[in-house]
């Protein structure tokens, strides 16, 4: 009985904390409406332009440009779910004040899945415009023949529904527990979410890897890399931290979350950003290095296609911009503890993740078609329209979602720890 009393007193103490005042943890009504509406309109315009250019210019190119955006935002959403589950599982006390933003990313999964469903429909209707294995008879190609048990249309659709079902179940359950706890303060909900995270993480890891195999790796059905799931995961983990950091910095600059998300929290998010910048570089180079060394044609072809037609410059830019610059800057403690510095770096990393997906997806459009490898300005307009379109829709709805619920999980049992969080170094 006394333990329950003590917990009740803790909840009351947190509720009385000056930083937990209503105008500090709620976005003022309508404050985010203008930017989110602008982003959504921008997104709709971009997607309409993509659709129009798909009709008059090139469906394959339009779909690839659209996929660049879709897989970027899917990576952000999946990363939000990953970190939510990790923080539950390891009982990370300092995350009490930032977890709601990761949950907001996670709850953007329905939007992502709807956009992926469009890809599935277009691929099936067009007989595999980008997923070329759909349009090839396995009997004529030995490399496809040995994979036809996995790469066939019915199983592909079934797998998509499995991923969608698993992710929606995990995301909505975790979200429901968290919102329910806001109202009731029931700490058993945290235990339920932690239990769910324990089995959810391995399930999530496998589904994420196979999702990446199906939609990104299988664009060249001959290509295979055991590191591919990890490569996609690196963008998920890094991108979601970057988006969260950017959003928290924007909310801080709006005068919200004062005393709740301090420079100690941005410091720790910056450490994760640093860690996963290095992680991305490590696994991306390892994948390249092993394929380069073993020199097996069906593997090297993937990289050969990305070393021609100007894509080698993008690869160089990725090495410098996605790894060396953030690595050197994030080494400095003061950058991670500075709101403006952290926000700029997070925005830069988001841009680099878009570029990474561009480098993965876009060269597939003109594979084996080198004369046409430079589609001219129309191609680039199409790329920009589609990427801005998808990112605009996603960020627009994200802002709407942020404004809807409290900005922190206010009855989280780990709240006192998060409020007093400090880096003791």
């Amino acid at each position: 009985m006394s333990q329950i009393d003590a917990y009740q007193r803790q909840l009351e103490a947190v509720a009385r904390h000056p930083a937990m005042s209503d105008d500090n943890i709620h976005v003022r009504k309508g404050a985010l409406d203008a930017p989110s509406n602008v982003l959504i309109v921008l997104g709709i315009v971009g997607l309409l332009a993509t659709g129009a250019l798909a009709m008059i210019f090139n469906v394959k190119h339009a779909l690839a440009a659209y996929e660049v955006g879709v897989f970027t935002v899917t990576a952000f959403s999946l990363g939000g779910m990953f970190w939510t589950m990790v923080f539950y599982l390891v009982n990370a006390g300092w995350t009490g004040t930032i977890r709601r933003q990761l949950e907001n990313l996670m709850m953007m999964l329905p939007v992502c899945l709807a956009m992926i469903a469009v890809i599935v429909v277009v691929e099936l209707a067009s007989g595999g415009v980008l997923l070329s294995w759909m349009g090839i008879d396995p009997a004529t190609d030995h490399l496809l023949d040995v994979k036809k048990g996995f790469l066939n249309e019915p199983f592909f659709v079934v797998r998509f529904f499995i991923y969608a079902g698993l992710w929606m179940f995990l995301a909505t359950s975790l979200w429901r527990n968290s919102i329910h706890q806001d109202a009731t303060g029931d700490r058993m909900l945290t235990r339920k979410s932690r239990f769910m995270s324990a089995w959810g993480l391995p399930v999530f890891a496998l589904s994420l890897a196979f999702f990446a195999f199906d939609f990104l790796m299988a664009m060249d059905y001959r290509f295979f890399s055991t590191m591919w799931g990890v490569y996609f995961f690196a963008s998920c983990a890094l991108g979601s931290i970057a988006v969260t950091l950017l959003i928290l910095c924007i909310l801080r600059s709006l005068g919200l979350l004062t005393g709740l998300v301090t420079k100690e929290h941005t410091h720790d998010l910056g450490k994760l950003l640093f860690g996963f910048t290095v992680f991305w570089a490590y696994i991306a180079f390892s994948q390249y290095f092993l394929i380069w060394y073993s020199n097996i044609p069906e593997e090297t072809a993937w990289y050969v296609n990305r070393k021609v037609g100007g894509w080698e410059n993008v690869a160089t830019l990725l090495v410098i911009g996605h790894f060396i610059i953030p690595f050197l800057i994030l080494l400095f403690r003061d950058i991670k503890r500075n709101v403006a510095g952290a926000a700029i770096l997070a925005a830069w990393i988001i841009l680099m993740i878009v570029l990474d997906f561009l480098w993965i997806v876009r060269p597939m459009v003109y594979v084996g078609d080198m004369l046409d490898a430079n589609p001219g300005p129309t191609g680039w307009i199409l790329d920009i329209a589609a990427i801005v379109g998808v990112l605009g829709i996603w960020f627009g709805f994200l802002l709407k979602r942020i404004a809807r619920e409290p900005l922190v999980a206010k009855n989280d049992p780990r709240m006192p720890e998060a409020l007093g969080h400090r880096n003791y170094v």
Binding site: F285, W292, L331
Partner: protein, 205 residues
């Protein structure tokens, strides 16, 4: 830190330049004074004592507790360590040396392995990375030991029976006699004024 701190058994054999400076104070039994130890029985008084000693300007002193006290490094006036700069500098040096080693080797004796071009940059990367990590790790460990004075084989406090409680239920502040501000009478008064349970003069052995 002097050589004699690390290896007290070498003291009789060391030249006079490496010996400790002669003690300024003599304890009750006639031996040189090593420092003054104050004992407390709770976190709050030892925290306040730490702030008092910090504000008095002492540098050669320490605070002992059976468990970590978060934030006490501020009460003790710790400054940020310089260790990360040493790690970064030596790590980058190691990476550069790793590159130079390969450049020199393959420049002087070119071997074609598996038909790869001799000028390929890819094989350089793991070795640059590994040599950077290796030197960084050695430098960090070595500099850490050099800066915090470990490993220390012996310390006069260990022979002081009441100090054993520092791993049980007592808290201590210890000021060494080698501190420039140290004075046998006034330092003792300072520690007594912080509400210590007991204050002892520790002598060299």
């Amino acid at each position: 830190m002097s050589v004699a701190d690390y290896f007290p058994m070498l003291k009789p054999f060391l030249p006079s330049g490496l010996q400790d400076p002669p003690a300024r104070f003599t304890g009750p039994t006639g031996k040189p004074v090593h420092g003054i130890l104050a004992q407390y029985s709770a976190v709050d008084p030892v925290w306040n004592a730490g702030e008092t000693v910090r504000d008095a300007g002492f540098t050669a002193w320490d605070l002992h507790s059976p468990f970590p006290i978060h934030g006490v490094e501020d009460a003790m006036g710790f400054k940020r360590t310089k260790l990360p700069y040493i790690s970064a500098a030596v790590g980058l040096t190691g990476a550069g040396l790793g590159f130079l080693m390969q450049w020199w080797m393959s420049g002087n004796y070119e071997i074609v392995v598996q038909g790869k071009p001799p000028t390929a940059w890819e094989p350089y990367v793991p070795i640059i990375f590994e040599s950077g990590v290796l030197l960084c790790a050695f430098a960090t460990l070595g500099a850490m030991f050099a800066m915090n004075g470990l490993p220390r084989l012996h310390y006069p406090l260990y022979s002081h029976e009441p100090f054993l409680a520092s791993s049980d239920d007592k808290f201590f502040v210890y000021i060494e006699a080698k501190d420039e501000k140290f004075d046998l009478v006034r330092t003792r008064e300072l520690l007594e004024s912080t509400g210590a349970d007991r204050v002892d003069v520790i002598e060299d052995e």
